[in-house]
Structures are given as C-alpha cells and as structure tokens.
C-alpha cells in the first residue's frame, strides 16, 4: 500500500514565489527522499533526509522532517519556470530490506 501521501496534489504559483509540498507517512522510516519527474521522464533524486535529521538544504531546496508527526515538507524558494514538474516523496522503511514506497506526487506548475 502507498505510504507517502503528498499534499497538495497540484500547485500553481508565479515565478519567484516559494513552493511548499508536504508528505505524510504511516510507519517508521529509515530515511525519506524527494524526487522530481519531468513529464514523460524518469525520476531524479533531489535530496535524502535521514530519520535522525530535522532539516536539510540543497541549493534552493529545503526539506524538513518531523518523525513525531510522520511528515516532511519540501520548500522550493524563488521558483523558476524550469521547476515545473511532479515531485514525489519516497519513504524508506527501517529493518532488513529497506522497502521504498513512493507517494502519488504533487504536480507543480510555475508560471513565468
């Protein structure tokens, strides 16, 4: 069953604005990852945050993780038209085989 659920399903913003996407999950995790997918293409790994981390930055990306609430957020600052894509969170379970479960994604449109 799907564990990661992104919110909102779709987001439309003006270029230069910040975009925030949220991800909720249900069981304990080893780490949580965010991916980007341009239409009709494979997924590109953006950032990985481990269960013992609370915040991570990579360029214009900021990811937070709240394990008590089982939620994560991805913030894209100063958005650009090229950021238009679908964004997925993926949770990696703890334990032997670290099963990865992807959410259904947030479709972001950045209007120039």
């Amino acid at each position: 069953s799907q564990q990661g659920e992104e919110d909102p399903q779709a987001l439309s913003i003006q270029e230069g604005e910040n975009a925030t996407m949220n991800c909720s999950y249900k069981t304990s995790i080893n780490n949580l990852q965010w991916y980007r997918q341009n239409s009709g293409r494979g997924l590109v790994h953006l950032i990985l945050i481990r269960s013992n981390e609370r915040e991570k930055h990579s360029g214009r990306l900021r990811v937070t993780l709240d394990t008590s609430k089982k939620s994560s957020s991805l913030l894209i600052t100063a958005s650009r038209a090229a950021d238009t894509a679908s964004y997925f969170c993926a949770t990696v379970g703890s334990g032997g085989y670290q099963k990865v479960t992807f959410g259904t994604g947030t479709k972001l449109q950045v209007i120039p």
Partner: protein
C-alpha cells in the same frame, strides 16, 4: 560515475505479444535493482526487486516476470501482454547514500 541505461524509450505492442525490457547499470557492483510501473498521473508501484544475480522478489502478482542474468542487468518480461500492462516502466538501482537512481523510463502502450 554510476549510470543506468533503460531501453527502449517507447514501445507499442499488440495484446498477447511478448515483452522484454532491459536495464543495465554501469559503475557499481552488486546493486539492488528495481522495476517500477507508473500509471498515468499516479505514483510508482514497485513490481520487482533484486538484491543479486538470480534473486528476484515480486511485490505484486502480475502478468509480468523479471530476471537478473548478470550482476548489472535486469530484465522485465511478459509472455502475453494485456491491455492493463500499459504504463510507464522505470528501472532503478539504489545506494544507501544517494537514494535511487532511475533510468529514463519506457512508455509501453498495449493496443
């Protein structure tokens, strides 16, 4: 550096025909390999994963099978395609440090 190759990029096949999608990885040894399917506008569904040569685990009963004949080669197959097999198929390998690296995907349309 590690790279992953997946082909073909698009494929149109008639119902009942066989399928073979291939994925190869370079620059790493003994990778964990995965096949995912993505229906239109949906998230990714894990179909198969492999932790080594000849070791295949199936996540969902399917009209599909997978094989790993070599360390860095992962093949997705079907003997007879169904209309419901249409979708976007993605191969991936994983590392504990860098998450998943995906291939560019195969758009399969069964007609």
């Amino acid at each position: 550096s590690q790279t992953i190759h997946q082909w073909p990029a698009t494929l149109v096949q008639p119902v009942g025909s066989p399928l073979s999608l291939e994925c190869t990885v370079e620059g790493t040894s003994n990778p964990n390999l995965y096949w995912y399917r993505q229906a239109a506008g949906r998230g990714l569904q894990l179909l198969f994963y492999s932790v080594g040569i000849g070791q295949i685990s199936s996540e969902v009963p399917q009209n599909l099978s997978a094989s790993r004949p070599q360390d860095r080669q992962f093949i997705l197959s079907s003997k007879k395609l169904l209309l419901s097999d249409s979708g976007f198929y993605l191969c991936a390998w994983s590392s504990s440090h860098y998450g998943y690296t995906f291939g560019s995907g195969t758009r399969l349309t069964v007609v």
